[in-house]
Every structure is written in C-alpha cells, then in structure tokens.
C-alpha cells in the first residue's frame, strides 16, 4: 500500500466520492435509460448472462461479457458512472450468437447492468456489483 502516486489518489478519491454521491440522481438517470430502451415495458430478472469481475483489477479497463439467447439487442449500463450509458449491442437475424465482450471504464464501485430485448419483444436484465478498490493488503 502506498498512496504517494497520483493514480492511486485518484482511485481513492473516486472510491470516496461514490460513498457520498447523491444516489437518487444516479438512479433516475439509469431508470430513464432503461425506460427509453424498453419503452416503459416491464423488465424481468433472469435469462441474461452478465460476466464481470467481482473486484476490478483496473477500474479503467474492466472486461465484461453479455449474452442472452435469442435477444435482438442488449444494452449495457454502468450505474455509477457520470454517464451511465456504455453500449447497446444489436443482433441481426443472421447473428450466430447473441453475446458480446468489451472492456469498460468504471469511476468507482458500482453496479453494471445489462438489459436485453428478447425475441418475443419482452425485456430481461442482469446486474452485477463491480468493486473498484485501493487493494494492497491481501495476504
């Protein structure tokens, strides 16, 4: 553990900021994004695979993978980022698999959310908490 370096201080500050962030403001940006994607339809849990590390090795580049069998589109949100929208993957009828992998940047510990539009027009979601930590004391 050392905190002399600027990048660590920045991560630490981000961690601290998340603790004190006014969450309702964030929550509404996420709700709005989901509502826009679904057109206000109900979103069920399950049927969407979301792979993300429990603790990010580097908050600046966090590998994630989303997939939902038969989905026509999957939207990814980083609920705690200043701008929650990450990406929306659209799958055409000839897509061999409805899954995608990418790396995303996380401002601090937060939920990553994947919302899928299924073949029948219904919506489903999965979410996972990804922790961004100072680390350095595991033994």
């Amino acid at each position: 553990m050392d905190f002399t370096r600027r990048e660590t201080l920045v991560i630490g500050a981000a961690t601290a900021a998340v603790v004190t962030l006014p969450m309702p403001a964030m929550a509404s940006a996420v709700d709005d994004a989901i509502a826009e994607f679904t057109g206000g339809a109900d979103v069920s849990d399950g049927g969407v695979d979301l792979e993300a590390p429990e603790i990010a090795e580097n908050g600046n580049t966090v590998p994630i993978e989303v997939g939902a069998e038969g989905a026509s589109a999957i939207m990814v949100l980083a609920a705690g980022n200043p701008t929650p929208g990450v990406a929306t993957f659209n799958f055409g009828p000839l897509a061999g698999a409805q899954s995608a992998k990418t790396r995303i940047r996380l401002a601090g510990t937060q939920d990553v959310i994947a919302v899928a539009k299924m073949a029948d027009g219904s919506f489903a979601k999965a979410q996972k908490n990804v922790k961004v930590t100072i680390g350095g004391c595991g033994g």
Binding site: D2, F3, T4, E51, E54, I55, T133, G135, C137, G138
Partner: protein, 565 residues
Amino acid sequence: MISRRDFLQVSMAASALYGASGFGNWAKLAAQQALTQDQLLEFETFGNVSLIHITDIHAQMKPIYFREPEINIGVGANKGEVPHVTGADFRKLYGIEDGSPSHYALTYNDFSALAKEYGRVGGLDRVATVVKAIRAARPDALLLDGGDTWHGSYTCHHTEGQDMVNVMNALKPDAMTFHWEFTLGQDRMRELVEGLPFDAMGQNIFDAEWDEPAAEFKPYEFYERGGVKIAVIGQAFPYMPIANPGWMFPDYSFGIRDSHMQKMVDEVRAKGAELVVCLSHNGFDVDKKMAGIVKGIDVILTGHTHDALPEPVLVGETILIASGSNGKFVSRVDLDVRDGQMMGFRHKLIPIFSDVIESDADVAALIEEQRAPFASELSEVIGQTDSLLYRRGNFNGSWDDLICDALLSERDAEIAMSPGVRWGPSLIPGDDITREDIWNVTSMSYGEAYRSEMTGEFIKVILEDVADNIFNPDPYYQQGGDMVRIGGMAYAIDISKPQGERISDMTLLSTGEAIDPSRNYAVAGWASVNEGTEGPQIWDVVENHIRKQGTVSLEPNTSVKVSGL
C-alpha cells in the same frame, strides 16, 4: 437405495462417532503424554484414492512456532461458522481437551506455555516423512500443493524461490497452484514454472491482453490413480493484481471466474473424470460460496486464508479441506470412488509436531544445502523478546505492533501502517530474535518502507477500503487478508456497517487528539503495491529498531475498538 447425499452424511456422522477423522484419537493419546509418530500417522486406509494436501508453506523449511488467531470474525452467512471459531469455542466444537496437543496446534490460548511443552511445528523434512508414510500405505497418492510456497523467508528471497523449488521437488508433488509466487515477477515465475517436474495449474490464470486462458498454466490435468480417473482443477488466488503489485506480472489477469470453473468441471466430466478435485487458493469463505455455485466438484482443497480444520466442511456434495499454513499441517483425504461417484471419505489433519515426527535425512540434508550459503546471515542474533510475537488476528498482532513501532521511530512518522498479511511464524518469550526471524515476517519482493504525507480523510478512506476487503458480507468481495495494522493511531470499527461507515473515533495517540480530516500526517508503511516506491527495506528498518531495543517488550494493543459483532 441410499442417495449419494445421504451416504456422505452417514459417513460424516460415522467419522464423528468413531473419530475416523483421526482427530479425537490423538488428542486423547497426547493427553496421556503418549503421543508418537505412529499415532499421528495412524490411518486406516480407505477406498481407492488418497489425496495429500499441503498449502501456504511460505517458504518455512525449518520447524517454527505458529500461533493461530484469537480474532477471526465471520460476516454475513459465515458469522459464527468455521473457520471463524477460535479458542475455547473451537475446542468445544471439536471436542479438544484443554492443554492437549490439539489445543496447542489449533487454538491460541496459553500459547507460550504450551509451545515450551510441545515444541516447534512443521519443517519440510518432517513433512517428507509424513508424505512417505502415506505413500507407503498408498503408493499412488496424489500430493497437491496449494501455493504460497515460494515466498516468505531470507533464503527464498535471495534465491528467488529456488530453495523452495529444490526442496519441494524432492517431495514429488503432482500439481501446484499459485499466489505470492507471482511477486517474484512474471519472468522469474515463467522460468521456474517451465522447469517444474509437475503440473502448474490455475483455470483462472488468464492472459491480460486477450482475456483468455494463459498458455503457461494448465486449467486442469487428469491423473489415473487406484483405477480412478481423477481431474484436478487449479484455482490461483483471484485477486493477485489487487492485493499484490500487478505491475510485477502485467501479462496476467485472474478473478474467481466461477462460470469458467463450471465450464472446466463440465469439460473434465465429459472427458470421463470420475473424481473432480479443485486445488484452490481462493480462501475458505470464497471456496465455500463457490462450492454452492459450481456443480460437480467432489473435493476442494482450500488455501490462502491459513485455516486449519480437523474435519471437512460439507457444502452440498462437495467436501472442503483446510490444511493450515507455514508447514504446520498436512491433510490426508482417502476417498472411495466407484462408478464415477465419490461414495465416501476419510480425512485426517496431521499436525507436524517436529519433536514427534522424525526428520527425513535426505530432505533434511537438502534443506541444509539451501541454507548453507546464508548460514551466518540467517543465524545472527539481533535481539531478544520478552513478549510472545505473533501475527494472526483480524486487527493486530504483536509482530505488527513491533513493526509499526519500528516504522514510527526509524522513519520519524506520526502514523504507521503494516499490511494485514497472515503469514509469519511466532516467537515465544525468552527467544532470541535472529535475522531469519525478522525476514520470516517481512520478506517480499516489494518491501520498501515508504514515508509520505496523507490527510486524515485519506487515511479513513484506506481503512474503509481495507475493512470492506475483510468484512464485506459477500465472500466474493473479500481478499482474504486481515485489517491493515496501524501504529500511532487508535480507531473504532463497526464491522456490521457498509463501506464508508465502519470506521470512527480515529485518534492520534501521541497527542490524544481526534484525527483532523484536512490535516496532513506523516505516515510510514511498507509493502506498497505501486511501482517506484522508495525507502529502506522493511527488514532493515525492523532490524535497526530491535538492535536499539536489545530486548523487545510489548504492551497489549488496545487501540482498536471493535463492534457490530
């Protein structure tokens, strides 16, 4: 027909009834002062497969003292569950008589007095004797090393792990997984792994660039033993680049990756595995959670959190084996595998009492060969101790108090921080403190003792962050260390609160004043995960401090107030 689940439970009950876990037996014998090697090793060979597990040796080739923790708090679903049971509660749970060798081996109370009576534990020459005895009964037993083997001593540091590789090779393990080994740096790590005469494995060791399994490490390997096709799947420490300096092994990524673990289990089952063993460095609670998520693992040999449990813990149809640390224990697990199913088990946690178990002459000679070039440096007496020096415990240990004192005085700091690692043997009152002893609790490839300014607010952020790595109710978010040790400052912690709300009442001990969030404090610490950290090596800082002290005498540390239990 009896279901497999029922069978396992029956077997477990039988174990408890007849002491077939090998536990109650030797406790009673020892109470009669009649403990012998034969009794320690006594085991009625069972079934058709034997596993031998040793883990977290931390380069301890010679017998040592090792005090188990007094404070080891479980949170969430693990509150009050093993391994979060200590002292008298632990003895009661397992029927251990007070003052018995098992009391000494497995709990912390009366440690100094019992250490004088029962002597040192461990020593890889004694471990070799135990391994040979098991192989005499079951020649094709699998020997599996859970990692944290090539780290933790003067000779290991100076030979970059070569001493441990040489000695472990003589024990002929079949497979190994990893944690601190990576802190040798990825080039040295690859060099050592390439030359191993056994399998280096970790299904969660990935190539950081492409996020796919790293070529140098197998996810699993098959072993045909006792007519059974056994798959051993490796699981390295998941949080390597977070808990240790990622810049030392930038090509690798880790993580729990339990869905990939499931894929590996399904793959080995499809290839005909009749028994699936996971050789893990996850830590006990992480393994326990993983056992409930990943289906089809028969045995998890756990490591990392240094727990020693005299009986397996059952999660569904998976048994978890915890074999301690620092060479203090070896587990033997015999299994009855028939028709592609584990039908029953017999288990024994064998404590390596160095005065009871004979030294293996060949391995003893090999150990001395590794140490000979460093003999005079190792044996130099730096001081003495009047106090018991130990490390294990969630909040503080007397070794860490001494290290923090050294940082405060030698680095002229107001506050000291020492990492909450779980390795490092103990010394008992009256012992000399040699250079080797100091290195046993400090040696690492990033031991520079920094000194920097931190605001009171930032110190709180650090404490909150580390506390959540231990007390997050979800084990998957725990890194398996203990709380960062603090010198020069008191604080209160409510472990039941979420991150950001656990720490309060931070007080600078030198003035008795509350820590000011906006003021800068001079903080000294060591084991930074950041590249380019500057400062003298921690072992030199501690050595200088002990030399000045002559004889070390420590008051009990009362500066951490814990609530929310």
